[in-house]
Amino acid sequence: MFRIISKELLNPTVSKMVVDAPLIAKKAEPGQFIIVRSRNDSERIPLTISDFDREAGTVTIIYQLVGGSTMELDTLKKGDELCDFVGPLGKPSHTEGLKKVAVIGGGVGCAIAYPITKKLHEQGCEVHSVVGFRNRELVILEKEFEKASDRFFMMTDDGSYGEKGLVTDALERLLTEGNTYDEVIAIGPLIMMKFVCLTTKKYNVKTIVSMNPIMIDGTGMCGGCRLTVGGETKFACVDGPDFDGHQVDFDEAMSRGQMYLDFEKHTREALCRLQKEEC
């Protein structure tokens, strides 16, 4: 069992949980993920490691309430225990030798983009970061990003905070300014990553994306997380989750991500009803 050391609401739909998992904390690297089951009848869901503290032996996860499983996870409080917490899974993000990078984070994807930003910054890399949210209320990790970046841009869809516009607007500006990046790292909704890749392709800048498809075991067994990358079948859990964004078939990934939408909608409604009844 894995005890929840602390839990914090980052915005109305995103929570942060610090979990006691010393063995995982010892090995975790930015870009890797864990599989969590909150109770012994829960689904296995992959969540990216958003931070870790080797000395304290803790792993931090940040998750958005999107379906039944994350809603169930969110019912747990500080001091409660998670039934299963497995990791660190996937390959760590590659940061070695990078001198100048643009990190693009969208929504809750910022939770994954942040540890990479931090690591790059710590190794002396020049980091330009662009984060985007739908509106002011949903902004997370602003201070953290600011601290770890040489240049920082906040974008909101409705202009309620930072600059009105999409992350690609700011990225395009940086690229036309003449910035040359060793890499652009984009983490966020599939549609955002797709458009970041279309933007960087024009400038011929290598772009890494972090994929988060449907997964069960997360250890290279079920094949549910398969993606088409450069015309080949790849498995996000063991070959990724980071891939060359210019090679990823995003349209296929988006379609596959919709596989259980009806089921999820149904569980979400059932859970909401249950929670209302309990209140």
């Binding site: 009848d41 296995r44 917490f85 990791g87 067994m221 094949g223 549910g224 063991v238």
Partner: protein, 462 residues
């Protein structure tokens, strides 16, 4: 013994009615009653040559255990089984007996062989029902070993080493131990309570099982040695599912058999209140002809599919599945489209599976493996309407350990290379067995490998 039963046929196995069972997940074969078992046991001639034993991957003294049942001492039968297997209740249910012990039985020359598998199952179930004495924990011999993977090979190695006095820790990546016995083989063929029972037996003799531990990620092989383990057995099992590389395999509604079965078996997606979703398809094609394909097809039927096809490129005679599974599948209404091969999966405007194009095949000359090679019949394409396709065409071994352990050699397919007689890998004191070495194979072969390695470890360390 004078009262041999010379009936040419096996005592039939009581089963759930086909039309009832293809709608539920309860066990299909109900098991022999006491009288049926004694009667069937009397069909064994207890012949001197014991050809059955030579065909058993774990060398069970088959005539001896059967003789105990015939003479109505079923508890002794279990003791004899236990000398060679920690998982008798499992083997009795899932071994391909027709190509092993029963395939060599002299009674099979004229008539049916002795129902060895059924008798093994009977002895194990009888023991579970009647014996309430906890097993004695063997005396600690001062040696420590680690096992990676709580599937058939790992559990066998763990059991054998624990019986010899080793302190054994089994590391399992999933949240439940059992490996393919829990995530792959369905409840109706191997009830999970039985797997649980066998695992409890191992715990009783001191085997420690730690779940949620992905070795290669959370701990490396080298760290397991630093923790005081003197030998390590890798039984990490089957890995990534294979696909055919035909158009349409990424459509919604195309599953690997691993995913489909894991959702159903490990995550209980067939139960009404399960939180893990599964597609309730109406027309399903399962591509492949092995046990995994039969399991997937029969699961799809039980989830309410109106038509389920097995699409296999060779003929009925070449199906690699256990004979009993093929028979059960046919009885349950699974349609066998043998000598067929898919060439493309079609989707609708929303990216959901809508059909599959197949070609017809004929059998040509035997290939290197001795099986007749399937050849495409020109212009034989036709389309089947479907809403789900399940690929059950095999797996490649799990990559996590070989990619994180320096000095561990694997072949071009990713299978770990071991010395056949010991199971030792290219790393000293690191042994391996099961699907991690052979690629997708059977439970009993994996168990045999676990057993070989346990013996070799014991020899090397004592």
């Amino acid at each position: 013994m004078s009262d041999r039963n010379m009936d040419l046929h096996k005592c039939p196995m009581p089963v759930q009615d086909a039309d009832a069972r293809n709608k539920n997940f309860e066990e299909v074969a109900l098991g022999y009653t006491y009288d049926m078992a004694v009667n069937e046991a009397k069909r064994c001639l207890n012949c001197k040559k014991k050809p059955c034993v030579s065909a058993c991957p774990v060398n069970i003294d088959i005539p001896a255990f059967i003789e105990c049942i015939a003479s109505e001492k079923p508890e002794n039968a279990y003791d004899i089984l236990s000398e060679q297997t920690s998982l008798a209740a499992v083997c009795g249910r899932v071994c391909p007996q027709e190509s092993q012990c029963e395939g060599k039985c002299v009674r099979g020359i004229k008539g049916e062989p002795v129902g060895i598998g059924r008798l093994e199952r009977f002895a194990a179930d009888y023991h579970a029902e009647h014996n309430k004495n906890p097993q004695k924990k063997p005396k600690y011999n001062g040696h420590k070993a680690a096992i990676i993977g709580a599937g058939p090979s790992g559990l066998t190695a763990a059991g054998d080493l624990a019986k010899k006095g080793y302190q054994v820790t089994v590391y399992e990546a999933l949240h439940l131990p059992g490996g393919v016995l829990v995530y792959g083989i369905p409840e109706f063929r191997l009830p999970k309570a039985i797997v649980q029972r066998e695992i409890e037996n191992l715990k009783e003799i001191g085997v420690e099982i730690v779940t949620n531990m992905v070795i290669g990620k959370i701990l490396t092989i080298d760290e397991l040695f630093e923790m005081g383990n003197e030998a390590i057995f890798i039984g990490s099992g089957a890995g990534l599912p294979r696909f055919m590389n035909i158009p349409g395999e990424s459509l919604k509604g195309v599953y690997s058999a691993n995913e489909f079965l894991t959702r159903i078996n490990l995550m209980k997606a067939y139960q009404e209140d399960s939180k893990t979703p599964i597609q309730k398809a109406k027309r399903v094609a399962v591509v492949g002809g092995g046990n995994v394909a039969m399991d997937a097809a029969r699961c799809a039927k039980r989830l309410g599919a109106e038509e389920v096809f097995i699409v296999y490129r060779r003929s009925m005679n070449e199906l690699p599945a256990r004979k009993e599974e093929v028979e059960h599948a046919e009885e349950e209404g699974i349609v066998f489209k043998t000598l067929h091969n898919p060439t493309e999966i079609h989707g609708d405007e929303n990216g959901n599976v809508s059909g599959m194009t197949c070609v017809r095949m004929e059998l040509g000359e035997p290939d290197a493996g001795g099986r007749r090679r399937p050849i495409v019949i020109e212009n034989s394409e036709f389309r089947i309407d479907l809403d789900c396709v399940i690929m059950a065409i095999g797996t490649s071994p799990n990559p996590l350990i070989r990619t994180t352990t320096p000095g561990l050699e694997a072949n071009q397919h990713g299978c770990l290379i071991v010395k056949e007689e010991t199971g030792e890998t290219s790393r000293k004191n690191v042994y391996a067995g099961g699907d991690a070495v052979t690629g997708a194979a059977t439970v009993i072969l994996a168990m045999g490998a676990g057993k070989t390695a346990a013996d070799a470890i014991d020899k090397a360390l004592s």
